[in-house]
């Protein structure tokens, strides 16, 4: 029962690094990031586009990597959590999340940080409602979202 798997060579631009990969065409971006590129900072909660955990940025916009095929994002700038800090210097959002306890189990944190990064790049001083709206697709079961809101506001204030 040998399976016919179609493969394709793709060049992905992830966190500013271009990598060529030979990939089965049906593999999702989530799987490729985690399994072929060892970028395991991107997590998964449902693999059906429901929880927001696997959020990455594509050309700066949040996208669910579990619903994307690498072919769709070839040549576009992909940012994962591994690309958020500059070397050992944390992004102000990461700093604020650490200081205010916005990460508990930490599993939804990468996706939420990237959604928040995208928000602050288009809206430097978002209101609480703007933040709620932008983050509504990212579920978190630990924090009740309270410290996450506070941390995004703190980071926005520092970045302004």
């Amino acid at each position: 029962m040998a399976r016919e798997v179609q493969r394709q060579v793709l060049a992905l631009d992830v966190n500013g690094e271009r990598t060529e990969l030979l990939l089965p065409v049906h593999k999702t971006l989530l799987e490729v990031l985690r399994e072929d590129m060892q970028l395991t900072g991107t997590k998964h909660g449902c693999e059906l586009g429901e929880c927001g955990t696997c959020t990455v940025l594509v050309d700066g916009k949040p996208e669910l990597s579990c619903l994307l095929l690498p072919l769709q994002v070839e040549g576009r700038a992909i940012t994962t959590i591994e690309g958020m800090a500059s070397g050992s210097r944390l992004h102000p959002l990461q700093q604020a999340f650490a200081e205010l306890g916005a990460a508990q189990c930490g599993y939804c944190t990468p996706g939420i940080l990237l959604s928040a990064k995208s928000l602050l790049e288009t809206n430097a001083r978002p209101s609480r409602d703007d933040i709620r709206e932008a983050l509504a697709g990212n579920l978190c079961r630990c924090t009740g979202y309270v410290k996450i809101l506070e941390a995004i506001e703190l980071a926005a204030g520092r970045m302004a």
Binding site: K43, H44, Q104, G106
Partner: protein
């Protein structure tokens, strides 16, 4: 930020609170020790682990809720290229289960399946798709039975056969009947007696991380990394089922993506990957799909409740009779404990002079229920709080006042022998009343406020399996200025690693970041029973405190000897011990004493009452919470919009107020989800909505503002006075919400979740002149056994000096 000023600051405001008193790191809102790891995506969760040559495992599960397995044919699956092993129940026949009295599960069932999702066969293959295809190629022949899907059906004669071959009659799993004090006399003395029936629907933990486990087998030893809350209990189950001595099995807790009680049982997939690793000689990993997580469950039991209470005309409770019926699902899990918990803690918040409890758990053909945040106590808390509200309305007494009149007092013993030490109920109530303006709220139709209180354990006072050993142990090693603390405790996101580091740092005059931690590894760390029953801060914290104080004494001794002074004259702090840096002091001490190690352990006091069943309920200390919910409810649509929640939590002492706030806020969130929308329900044995989209949980848009007050009562036995924070604050939220709906619309929804259609239906009944409520009408007839009558403790006042004697 961590001590928000009292909103009523000004007239009568209290002086600013100094967290931690005179401590240097205890009480400070420091970032968690793994904060940077987590915000950079570097925490390694079980599914992130990729060991060389790892095989992938998929599990074939039952599509039927109740069936006998006639035959299993795995031959086609075995022939598939890329498949290295296929196993069935015949390969893992030994039963296991979390409680010694209910060893009723198999990693793979080969005789009978009891719920949709029961595991039947497992495949290890070179990739996950091949493993899934191989599962599809396994053919199973079933003799399908009529499923038992409700408490009522479980109480009746089974149409086919019973789900389990123990318990009974019919599909009853466990029956309990206890009476403390003179209940009949209490009702006779009452000026008013009221009965109510309530229902709390089941719901699930929904951790963001799907369960995952990866195992290796090298040199005759199995190593398992798993997303578990309890490495020790997994260790025991693996040893039993794999028939390996404990010293040949190692369980390591990977970074943990959320538990809430859902990863507190040993699970089939954890055993299966070990077995497959032993057979193939290669690492084997299994990560459950989200759908499988819904079926793995072990979540909140659906509980039907009946309560009858007698009160004086002034509202003082004279007697209470509480009945519960739990829908347990197909296996025992923690169910015996859950059953006792539905009756245990009523007395810990209210002074009930005579109390009778009858509990029943039934088996049904659904995923097994077990512990979820608050384990067995949110359901009776919902019933009790609303029941007392209704009594207050009957008597024309303000419900808050009626509850306050009955609050337990610190340093007392309850009628069912539970020991209450510190108790901040009064202060918690005062804080939320003051901040919310509850008593002076402006009345308008559709707006309401509700109030409720609760209490929870700081760790179960008895272990899951009977033994006299400590519940938690900590070792400390100091070597050339480096400090390492070892403890079996598992950080599931609640911050137990930070608590350990903070306590050790406090005693040694260092910062938490200076302490290296080795935790949750059965080979390298001494025991801790795990992250359940809110036990870690209290128990591992006390063990860490003892170990750290011993280490401190060695360092101080060596320094005192060098300085030629008394040890008492040596100061510790700011990374210095006496005249020396910490590193210099450690070198002096190592030169003097040799290898610098110390150990501490914690065993809870033996405080269980003198009766069978007394093991569930005792805790060395109880936390207390009070909550006010403010909401708008639309009479036309039944939609509820929560405006704000105030919550005060008596944590004894906040070792880290930032983390305590996080636990309180997270508990409020989870309680709100249960109150408004979360439900785990089934149709013909199938979960109605096993996906994160359709199983509704609160999003950013649903979450109201939460104002948290941390109340510190400094418990006499907690580490620095600390008690639990992670579970108690969930409990008052559902009743406070239902009570606020009554305040807004004048209808009772005596059932969780409080959904719009229930509100609309209650309003429709009210309009028709029927009772203005939605909820169960009756409690079934249950063949409870003869009640065990227990004499109340002779002294209600507690003398801690003599406490160890009971």
């Amino acid at each position: 930020m961590t001590d928000r000023p009292h909103p009523g600051a000004g007239k009568g405001a209290r002086p600013p609170h100094k967290w931690g008193g005179d401590y240097s790191v205890v009480g400070k809102p420091l970032p968690r020790v793994d904060a940077v790891t987590k915000v950079t995506g570097r925490a390694v969760y079980a599914d992130d682990m990729m060991l060389p040559r790892t095989l992938h495992c998929r599990i074939l599960r039952s599509p039927h809720p109740h069936a006998r397995i006639v035959s299993i044919d795995t031959s086609a699956a075995r022939r598939m290229p890329g498949v290295l092993a296929v196993i069935t129940g015949a390969d893992l026949p030994i039963k296991f289960g979390i409680l010694p009295v209910t060893q009723d599960e198999r990693a793979l069932e080969h005789e009978k399946v009891r719920y949709v999702g029961d595991p039947i066969a497992a495949v290890a293959a070179t990739d996950e798709e091949i493993a899934a295809a191989a599962c599809d190629a396994i053919s199973v022949e079933y003799e399908v039975f009529e499923p038992v899907m409700s408490i009522e059906e479980a109480l009746a004669e089974p149409k086919d056969e019973r789900i389990q071959d123990y318990g009974g009659p019919n599909n009853i799993h466990k029956l309990v009947a206890l009476e403390f004090g003179d209940v009949e006399g209490g009702f006779a003395r009452a000026g008013h007696v009221r009965e109510d029936v309530f229902f709390f629907q089941g719901n699930t933990h929904l951790p963001m991380e799907q369960h995952s486990a990866i195992a290796t087998y090298v040199d005759g030893r199995v190593t398992l990394w798993s997303s578990t809350q309890v490495v020790h209990y997994v260790h025991r189950a693996l040893s039993k089922v794999l028939e390996l001595p404990m010293n040949r099995v190692r369980v390591i807790g990977a970074a943990h993506g959320g538990g809430f009680g859902g990863k507190t049982d040993p699970f089939a997939h954890e055993i299966i990957v070990c077995k497959l690793a032993m057979m193939t000689g290669r690492p084997v990993k299994c990560t459950l799909t989200r759908e499988e997580v819904f079926y793995a469950h072990r979540g909140r039991h659906p509980v039907l409740m009946w309560v009858r209470t007698g009160v004086t005309r002034e509202g003082r409770i004279t007697a209470m009779h509480f009945r519960t019926a739990l829908d347990g699902g197909a296996y025992g899990s923690y169910g015996v404990a859950s059953t006792f918990y539905t009756g245990a803690l009523q007395t810990v918040t209210y002074d009930i002079p005579a109390y009778r409890f009858e509990g029943c758990r039934v088996f049904t053909n659904k995923p097994p229920c077990g512990p979820k945040r608050g384990h067995g106590t949110p359901q009776p808390r919902f019933a009790l709080e609303l029941h007392l509200e209704k009594i207050a309305h009957d008597l024309g007494i303000n419900p808050v006042e009626l509850k306050q009149r009955n609050f337990v007092k610190p340093m007392t013993r309850t009628v069912n022998w539970l020991r209450v030490t510190s108790c901040g109920l009064d202060e918690c109530t005062e804080r939320v009343m003051h901040a919310s303006g509850f008593q002076h709220r402006r009345r308008r139709p559709g707006r309401g406020m509700g109030f409720a209180i609760s209490s929870y354990l700081s760790g179960a006072g008895t272990a899951i399996y009977w033994n006299d050993m400590p519940h938690s142990e900590v070792q400390i090693k100091v070597d050339r200025g480096g400090v390492t603390a070892y403890c079996g405790a598992m950080d599931i996101g609640q911050g137990s690693d930070s608590v350990l580091a903070t306590i050790v740092a406090e005693e040694l005059g260092l910062q938490p970041a200076d302490i290296r931690l080795v935790t949750a590894d059965t080979d390298t760390t001494p025991i801790d029973l795990g992250s359940y029953s809110s036990r870690v801060t209290f128990m591992a914290g006390n063990a860490a405190l003892e170990a750290a104080r011993k280490m401190r004494a060695s360092l101080v001794d060596a320094v005192a000897s060098k300085m030629g002074c008394e040890p008492a004259a040596v100061t510790v702090g700011d990374a210095r011990i006496g005249d020396f840096s910490f590193e210099e002091a450690s070198i002096l001490a190592e030169a003097r004493f040799g290898t610098l190690t110390s150990a501490g352990s914690y065993t809870p006091p033996k405080i269980a009452g003198p009766y069978k069943g007394a093991g569930v309920g005792p805790s060395p200390a109880y936390s207390y919470s009070a909550c006010v919910v403010d909401l708008d409810a639309d009479a036309r649509t039944g939609l509820v919009h929560v405006n704000k929640i105030w919550i005060a939590h008596d944590v004894g002492r906040a070792i880290n107020p930032l983390l305590v706030q996080g636990q309180v806020e997270g508990s409020v969130y989870m309680g709100l989800g249960e109150a408004l929308m979360e439900e785990q329900t089934f149709r013909h044995g199938l979960h109605k909505w096993p996906s994160m989209l359709e199983y509704k949980s609160p999003t950013f848009l649903d979450m109201p503002e939460v104002e948290t007050f941390i109340v510190e009562t400094v418990d006499p036995e907690g580490p620095y006075g600390a008690k639990e924070a992670g579970q108690g604050p969930l409990l008052p939220v559902p009743p406070a919400l239902a009570s606020a709906v009554y305040d807004a619309l004048g209808v009772w929804v005596d059932e969780v979740p409080v959904t719009p259609e229930k509100i609309v239906e209650a309003l429709r009944r009210k309009e028709k002149g029927e009772p203005a409520r939605y909820g169960p009408l009756r409690f079934p007839n249950i063949p409870y056994p003869e009640t065990i009558k227990v004499e109340p403790p002779p002294n209600k006042e507690l003398d801690l000096a003599a406490a160890s004697t009971i």
